[in-house]
Symmetry: C2
Amino acid sequence: MPNLLIAGTLNLDDVETPFGKVQGIMGGSASFASYAASFFAKPGVVSVIGRDYPKEYLALLEQRGIDLSGVEVREKSFRWAGSYEYDMNEAKTLRTELNCLTEFDPKLPKQYRDATYVFLANIDPELQLKVVQQVRKPKLIVMDTMNFWIEHKKDALLEAIKRIDVLVLNDGEARQLFGTPNLVKAAQAALKLGPKAVIIKKGEHGALLFTDGTHFSAGAYPLETIKDPTGCGDAFAGGFIGWLAKTDDISERNMRKAIIYGSAIASFNAEDFSLNRLKQITEKDIEKRFGEFKEMGEF
Amino acid sequence: MPNLLIAGTLNLDDVETPFGKVQGIMGGSASFASYAASFFAKPGVVSVIGRDYPKEYLALLEQRGIDLSGVEVREKSFRWAGSYEYDMNEAKTLRTELNCLTEFDPKLPKQYRDATYVFLANIDPELQLKVVQQVRKPKLIVMDTMNFWIEHKKDALLEAIKRIDVLVLNDGEARQLFGTPNLVKAAQAALKLGPKAVIIKKGEHGALLFTDGTHFSAGAYPLETIKDPTGCGDAFAGGFIGWLAKTDDISERNMRKAIIYGSAIASFNAEDFSLNRLKQITEKDIEKRFGEFKEMGEF
């Protein structure tokens, strides 16, 4: 029985960066997040795929002890094509084929309903709410989103935010959702909706954690080469909630640590396409990088 | 005899931000930098003003123990007019009246030549070099610059960088000067030119320190209201070198502390126009904020 539930997508990705061009590779928020979380916990995934989804992609997750009984199989997989400019800051979506995603109606297998940690990766906020409603006694619900939902389903999104504990979003999304260029103000507006904590991801500039009365600022790992940033936000959130689920400690102090573990895993993820780099690393590599984060912030 | 020398401008500024519009206020890199440094040291300033420069502006610096014997008086003061958009990220220069600045040919008063700490604030790199040549035995030379010199005097700028110990520039300038979007690569390119350390200022995202083999990442103070960011970079650098001059310790460890002191003073500076906020604070306020920086980075 997984104590950590992750709802999100399992995509096929076509990605182009200045370092190469790959097609039909393993991607999706649930892939990156569950793999990252698997360094600390044994997550169960709720998602949907097509019959064309390669068996070896699923096997990779299963090898990590990830429960895939919540993955429905439909006709054709969700496919996303994106490219990054030289500065690697933002993906430009070239094409989106929703396919099976249009029929996604998350139903939790029985053994998922007692999960105490829940990560709602970036999907339609109405579906995120449906997942929340099926979990019996969640201890901590973490939620991510994206600009598309801010633009097209803002009401449902705000409704979902009221039901969760930790909101994770990037700086651009925070500014857009709360209508202010000031991230402190945006975080405070988010906290007023109900969450206990707000995490603002700033890519190469690190991440911020806000709670009522506390502020934590984490730097980013100084990467000389970023091959493909796809999935870094999901790997970050997966590592974050994985650490919390493992330690079963949701204090602000432990969230700080969780942010560093998430940042460490995300920094590895950017070093290669798809999950290629994550496949190579071990808990020991993550611990080493955690130590480097500590050293680079000391004064 | 000042052990800290600061070369830069003493302007009259016309500034417009979403929080107000002010004219003929005290500004300039040497004003902000020397005032910030005066919390820790007694700097001597090399600059040029016009006869129209208000006496009370000079008195404000003199009250802080700042030596102004290196300030030449010519006809008309340098005047800069700029505005900030809602996001407060970058000043838009509306007008520049160089006036006395066109005749600036820095000549150090005798008692300045034995200064061991030197801050070359943003002026023509050829003038920065002239200052360096007049200092007998500098222990640490810190240099700032701006996009204008990168575009118009790149050769002189690169020559100056070879002669200094710590290069301070913002992220946009670092990318522009070294032709890479990656700040780690930009910093490494800068270090190859000679400096022992490179500091990249990232405004609301904090600052990075790179030396050969070490990396330090400092967060920014979470300001809810930024009234006017003019001079923050100069206040940062002034606080940085002021702390180093006071402690006479140029180890990487102490530079980390100096960056936090610089960041603390710069964060105060953004809270009001001109030097209005700096005028109100004491060493105690700076120490308190230093403590808050420590707390917000701990995990």
